[in-house]
Amino acid sequence: MLFNSIEFFLFIIPVFFLYWFPLSKNVKLQNWLLLISSYVFYGWWDWRFLFLILFSSILDFIVGRKLEFEKNLRIRKVLLWLSIGANLGLLGFFKYFNFFIDSFAEAFTFFGYPIQIGRLNIILPVGISFYTFQTMSYTLDVYKRKLTPTKDLLSFLTFVSFFPQLVAGPIERASHLLPQFFKRREFDYTWAISGAKIFLWGLFKKVVIADNSAILVEGIFENYSQQSSLSLILGSIFFSFQIYGDFSGYSDMAIGLSRIFGFDLITNFKFPYLSKNVSVFWKRWHISLSSWFRDYLYIPLGGNRKGKNRAMINVFIVFLVSGFWHGANWTFIIWGLIHGIGYLFYFAFGTNKEEEVFSLNPKTIVQVIFTFLMVSFAFVFFRSPSVSDSLNYLNGIFFGHGEAAFFMSSSRHLVMTGITFLGIIILMSYEIAANRKGAFEVSLNKFDLVLCGISILFLGAFKNHLDFIYFQF
């Protein structure tokens, strides 16, 4: 069930009215409603996925309860590793099994010992990377005594499966989201209106920018060898906006929906394409994942406590793991590597200070464009099916002799290109305006809201729209 589908609107309207009218005075019943709704929402893809999320939730709930009273360090460690092992085991099996099998076979073939190993026909459960990280963070926080484990199984199950952010984040921390399930939720007009606005903005990013770009990107990447340099450059730029519109659009919709239900989710994107360098970019892009890796990988590895050289190695490890988190393919690892190298450059020379406000001076504009181009360059690896395809694509940009231009191959594609550019201009104008005011999200007045609604209606790509990209991760 996608947020931008008619099924979702038919689903959310009764849930909203039940939640705020008959059940508004009873938190427990509200949580039951959210839990059932979340399981219906998730089971809509495949009901078998429900067993996985239920298993992961109950295991972490039990481990959390045991950790509360257990004093023996050895047993505490066993419990912690049981949770981590089970969650990473699920993730490893469903997401990475075939990748390891293939890489293993390729390595043997490379050294002259070709072997045949059968692949498994595994369906990747939607959003598994998101909820396993969310439940793991709970156990890790309880283990470190940063968080008191909950005794309320219902709230915990609802926290793990909370439908607005279940399948593509933001990856919430138990310390932030879980307590919100214990408190009575009062309907707050201003909060709900801000949620409705940000939901609408997210929908605009998804259906106008991401879904129109997706069709152009698909056409260019599928036949990249025949495309001209300009077409390939546009393809990578469009993909940067496709993935941004898609992922940040989903996050906005998740945050907006949560507000309508009286919850507060963390900000996941802070106008990343206005970043002046890669270091700043990573403080603004997929913040919930970056901060997860900072807290549960970078700091446990030693962070910057063991000197700059060790800190640089730790940063590098984080970027490699982050790349691998995105998918079982060498392309994602190289994508992480490129960002790691870029980040280390600024890390080493101490220029990673974040400037929150975008200023319209030539130096800043050049820096922002340079950072965007570097990010788009790395996204070629992210989008391509293999490393050799990525390299050939990049080769085509610089030395290609292709003459085709998919973006103007038909009047339909030309119109789509125009719509995408128009959407990008609107997006960036609003983001620049918001950023210059020091805000973390765009502000929409009455006129903007109607314009946004009309744009969604008449510029959105409803036919042949694609699923959200990050559902696969």
Partner: protein, 301 residues
Amino acid sequence: MKKFLFQIFTYLLITFLVGLSITGAADYFLSKSYFYKPQFISNYFSSASKLDYIIAGSSRGLTTIDTKEVDSKLGVKGFNISMDDTGLPSQFLMIKHFFESGNTANYCVLTLDVSHFEESEKKLNDNDYRFITYSDRSYVHEYYRAYETGIIRPLTWSKYFPLFAYSYYNMELIWPAGMAALKPRYKNRFDEKGDYSYPDMVFSNDSPPKVQEIQKAIKNPILEEIRAYLQTKNSELILYIAPYFNKSIYVTNPSNYPLINHAGALQGANYFFDIDHVNTLGKQEATNLFMEDFQAILKSN
């Protein structure tokens, strides 16, 4: 809460009203234009236009016969009502649209694709939205109702509420409507005779030149419906199988439809744009062959 619901309702209403205005304008400009073939058929011909023949079909019907050439050589008057990316059910819809718009034709040459000999899938075709400006006509509404699937069915409901359809098919309807407003006589990929020609390219084919031979029976029940409908309009159905690249079709014709079978008539890649469509040279040859057989039918009647 009341205030929140009121605000949401107000913005939805304003968006809806603005959307309805845009839809109304788009529908108006499109309905007065020549942009898509259904609108061209309604707007181009003077009322009760009498033709000798029409050619119906999909992209193969659209691109194979040079109607202008047929008219000048045989001294007849015809028009091509074919539309690309359509199956037999939507070709039947186009035939109905032609006649229900007040036109007549003595013969309807239906270009039959091999995938529709026996049956047709019960689903909407890619270009059926082009009839939207006529969704208040019963034959169009009935067609949408019968063939559209899904929860919202924007085309089916377009008779009463066109906003959803114009939103869902915005790329296909809103932008052409804008074009139609600026250039009402612009025709989208067809000429004044309804024909379209692919760019003059030769199909590059590496496969061995072995002709595939296919045995097929013509028994699609829609054909009987088309014949019965045409009889009520005093028109005769002729089935035409246009040339395929490297494919010969041996047809059994249990219902005895008048048939022109040129499936394997053109040998060689130089006649083709791709495996299903002829190029300029192929079009000339196919038209010459068609004229011979069509003339024989005209004489026999």
